[in-house]
């Protein structure tokens, strides 16, 4: 017999049975029913058979012993699996693996043994006969309630807010203004982005260099189907290289010029196109380039951009095409930006024009 059923039956005992039955069967004749009482107590095997009880006792002890073994495994592993003397990375990592697995297993045994033993103990050996505890009314007596209301009334009368509107109004004003500093202090949670979101390092003449190896790229370096991950030259010398890299990343791809439409060709150089690598949806790096379909896939939410169609969105949640970086070559034949991006890169933001 579970606790829930017991409370139900005591609930009935308290004399609410009629009321419950009446309200629940509105429209039907109210039915009275007798308190069925508790079902007959069923004895467990361990209650009637001393051998079974003894067996259960041994099982509980075994689980507690398992816990002891687990603790010992943890301690022995901690002191016996050494990393010293394993200078080779591979054997060092093997030691780490052994230590992790054994200590994890030991901790599991140590904790689970205690828990399982306690539960088994409670279920098989501890008393399980039903006890009934009656509920009582929570409501205070009428005179106590009247006295409490009286005290509150008297207090309000003595404070006299109604008679002194000056105090009341100034108090309301003070309480209303008090949270303001906390709101103003929110300004200090971070610097305002200013125009950071709209600008990148790219400007006319910036050379395209390989990421992460470095080195400028010549147009002749790229064969059909080639892809190069690009950063603007000199980005490491900017004030905040990490923040600049997050905006300036560019993908450089060579396609057959015949595959490019007019719009894509505008910033292209002999079939070589450069597009921002930052997804216009939520800013993930869009770098999964499928050479045969000329599609760029964003790994986060599967937005797909068609390189031959000026990176138009062909699938997924992105709403704008990837901005194109117009490119050309300088006197030495290296690829350079013909201009910066003509729009902010990456996802939308409130002030985006």
């Amino acid at each position: 017999m579970s606790d829930g059923n017991e409370t139900m039956s005591t609930h009935d005992d308290a004399g609410h049975a009629t009321e419950v039955a009446t309200t629940e069967s509105a429209g039907q004749p109210a039915a009275r029913f007798d308190n069925p009482g508790l079902p007959e107590h069923q004895h467990r095997v361990t209650d009637v058979d001393p051998k079974a009880a003894k067996r259960a006792e041994r099982q509980v002890a075994l689980m507690f012993l398992l816990s002891v073994v687990g603790t010992l495994i943890v301690l022995v592993t901690y002191f016996s699996v050494k990393y010293e003397g394993h200078n080779d990375l591979m054997s060092r990592l093997t030691q780490v693996q052994h230590s992790t697995v054994l200590m994890g297993l030991g901790m599991f045994l140590a904790l689970f043994g205690i828990g399982a033993g306690a539960v088994h103990w409670a279920k098989t050996l501890m008393p399980d006969d039903e006890r009934v505890e009656y509920r009582h009314l929570q409501r205070s007596s009428e005179e106590d309630r009247a006295a409490a209301v009286g005290i509150l009334r008297e207090g309000a009368e003595e404070v006299g807010l109604g008679r002194r509107p000056l105090i009341r109004n100034t108090l309301i004003g003070a309480l209303a203004l008090f949270p303001l500093p906390a709101v103003v202090l929110l300004r200090d949670t971070g610097p305002m982005p200013g125009r950071d979101l709209e600008t990148t390092v790219w400007k006319q003449g910036t050379r395209l260099v390989k990421d992460p190896e470095g080195g400028a790229v010549k147009a002749s370096d790229l064969t059909l189907g080639s892809i190069v991950h690009i950063m603007p030259e000199g980005i490491e010398k900017t004030a905040d290289p990490a923040a600049e890299r997050a905006k300036a990343a560019v993908l450089l791809v060579r396609l057959d010029p015949a595959d490019l439409n007019e719009e894509s060709k505008k910033g292209a150089y002999e079939g070589i196109v450069a597009y921002s690598k930052i997804c216009t949806h939520l800013g993930c790096p869009v770098a999964l380039y499928e050479q045969r379909t000329h599609h760029l896939l964003c790994p986060c939410h599967q937005s797909t951009f068609d390189l031959t169609d000026n990176c138009r969105v062909v699938f997924g949640p992105a709403k704008r095409p990837l901005p194109q970086l117009p490119i050309t070559v300088d006197d030495e034949g290296y690829l350079v930006a013909a201009a910066g991006f003509n729009q902010p890169v990456g996802p939308s933001f409130w002030e985006r024009a």
């Binding site: 467990r44 002749s220 892809i227 050479q291 379909t293 896939l297 790994p299």
Partner: protein, 260 residues
Amino acid sequence: MTALASRRRHPMARAVLLVLGLVVTGLAYAAAEPGRANAAQAAADDVSAGRQVFIANCATCHGTNGEGRANAPSLIGVGAAAVDFQVGTGRMPLQSSGPQAPKNPVKLSPDKISQLAAYVASLGPGAAVPDAEEIDATKGDPARGADIFRTNCAMCHNSAGKGGALTRGKYAPPLTGVTPAHMFEAMETGPQSMPVFNDQTLDPQSKRDIISFLTTIEKQPSPGGLSLGGIGPVSEGLVAWLIGLALLVGCAVWLGAKAS
């Protein structure tokens, strides 16, 4: 001696001497330049043998001269590296058309593959099969390779090289169990959906670093215990939800069950 001396005025003597001289000179030349002569002959043999292999296995789709058809690209200028990769990993000859040619048991013998590669290489200049030096993982720097791999390869092949999904049934295959030569050739030629990383955009040292990185992480044991495929939150979440939750539910049922 007298017999030879007595015949030196014979009318045929001059002709015999001339023939003798030519034969000796020819033999001497052949002895001095054996490699070149044999290599040229062997290469020519490979190309003609390779053409037979090509006609038997590839020409149905790629055309009798490798010029390509509607659904099969031209093989002129793809080079020996492309053949060694595609046929050496069992992707070609293609078993059935689909979004992508899967890795398969290799169908041709290594000899036939090199003959085929020689034939396709003879169709037009292309990437060659790398030599042992270029793919020697011990000469690469795995840390630098990891750096390059993360920017250039990890978005498709997973940062641990376990592969990943692309669009419409295409996928980037796992890089475990791939030979260094095939890794190099894949970068060099850009098979199927993969873009090309030629020696100008990704120099040979960088390629060797990447190979070194991939062979290193393949040998590395998983320090956390079970690696669960190393494909990140997907398999870990699956194990946590299916196995972990099942264990918890089992415990809860046991807790709630009445002892008999």
